[in-house]
């Protein structure tokens, strides 16, 4: 770069700086953020707010027992998951081999799932396959109780609700290792 070019560049820089400092350019990115989101209340989001956290946050009122669940299962679930959850076109919901049987061992509620809350969450958000999110909260509690009872994780008469479900300790609760612990919040 010649001295002449350098002086021209400095002059140009001063011009640009000067214009942004004094004039209100509509292209000045410091004018503000877009702020085009529409405020929405948690009440308005309620129908979509279906997350159940592992501590039980989000669990709705209601309750159900394994025997309630067995009746619902027979009419709404058994067509795909088989009689008594033994499996059909969709996964078996009962049983499972030890995880030391090999890396390709089929993962089940009994041998793998670490949190009972996930059973409620996934059943409510995704099942039954052809008509998801049509089960009542009582029905989801009952089906969750039924699946846990089938796998002998809870007793046959246990009542599942927002207080009892998060306390259920799944057999494989401590079976997991964070792959990148340094990236875990």
């Amino acid at each position: 770069m010649s001295t002449h070019d350098f002086i021209r560049l400095v002059a140009l820089g001063a011009l640009v700086l000067g214009s942004t400092a004094s004039a209100q350019s509509p292209f000045d990115s410091a004018q503000g953020k877009p702020n085009l989101g529409t405020p929405i209340s948690e009440a308005e989001i309620a129908a979509w707010d279906i997350t159940i956290l592992p501590d039980g946050s989000g669990l709705p009122p209601g309750s159900g027992t394994p025997s309630d669940g067995a009746r619902i299962f027979a009419t709404k679930c058994a067509a795909c998951h088989g009689e008594n959850g033994k499996g059909g076109s969709a996964a078996a919901l009962v049983g499972g081999r030890p995880l030391t049987s090999g890396i390709e061992t089929t993962k089940t509620i009994a041998n793998f799932w670490p949190y009972a809350t996930t059973l409620f969450d996934f059943t409510r958000r995704a099942m039954p396959w052809p008509r998801p999110r049509t089960l009542t909260n009582d029905e989801v509690y009952a089906l969750t109780a039924y699946m846990l009872s089938l796998n002998k994780i809870i007793g046959e008469d246990a009542v599942m609700n927002a207080q009892t479900l998060p306390k259920v300790r799944m057999p494989n609760r401590d079976g997991f290792i964070a792959r990148f612990p340094e990236r875990m919040p």
Partner: protein, 402 residues
Amino acid sequence: MTGYTLSDSVAAQQLADDAWSTRAGAAIPEYGVPSSFEKSASRTLSNPKGEPRTQHARTPHHLLNGTFTPNGLHFVISHSGAPDIDPAKHRLVIHGLVKKPLAFTLDALGRYPTVSRMAFVECGGNSAPLFSNEPVQATAQALHGLVSCAEWTGVMLSTLLEEAGIDPKAKWLIAEGADSLALSRSVPVAKALDDAMIALYQNGERLMPGNGYPMRLLLPGWEGNMNVKWLRRIQLTEMPGMSYYETRTYAPILPNGKAYQFYFLQEVKSFITHPSPGLTLKGPGFYEVSGIAYSASGRIAKVMVTADGGKTWAQAALQEPVLSKAFTRFRVPWRWDGGPAILQSRAWDEAGNVQPTRAEVIAQRGTTRAAVTNAAAFPSQHYNGPTSWAIERTGEVKHVYA
């Protein structure tokens, strides 16, 4: 057509005009499709009738070249099909541990500052057949077809989170789709603020329905399933949701019976696409060996290629520009002497990560007890070891372990 299936007799013919040169061609369609001679460059489908189970559509890497995947050939995994979303009715809601819950229409997002970036997306289960104790005979499409690369354009998620105001207690966000499963995954807020995008465009056009139309979460380099498609809700939380897909499906079992959780990264990997099974060599002579390499940890720094199963190595040329968390095409000229050869590639990324050998992967992650017979099976996840192609005297290419 590929360089590997050229007729030997082309040069010996007397040249003459063919029919297509002696009359005007076909009308140009509104939306173009590839030549009728390229029908084999299609995705393979695991569930073509859309039965009530997961669908996989795999990218034909052995029939493509360059660094990005055409939209119609981008891989898709959908656990419940592709919803037919009316973009005018779609909403993205950000709520939970924020100062001000917000809803965004597609039109509103269209007014935000946008950015474009190349990024690969890879299913955690891509390359899973390589966990088989015996090599599965299958194409690069069948083995590695669950990774693709596109230019994504959208709004940085950090911009929207800043507008909603993150509560300092928030450590995770739970992203959820508008699909029938309302598929949900938990993402550390640090990743969301780093380089996460609400992607609205894919290779210049609106997202494909199977890739998340009208908007998806893009987490460059991170496990495909976390890049939630048909995104409609982001909830800021103190803890992860421990959803079905993060605690069950995408948590690979280790040989000691424990399992990895929150695998997050698609680690440095490469594989050779040319030649590869299905591309038969037509006699000794010159061939270009080429393939793709990528890493969640930045740019690809180096790719080495061997043709003798690892005894000697040559450094491949990397196609510029080499972009972070995107496909890098590598190429190296090779003269085949007509004898048996074993081709393999290994990649290094700029963070210093080396693609592990297969022995290293297996030592840590195990292998199946019985040979895998179905190339579409997922005996485990997150295989990033090398792939070896044996060239037989006939020119046929076979998958081997070397």
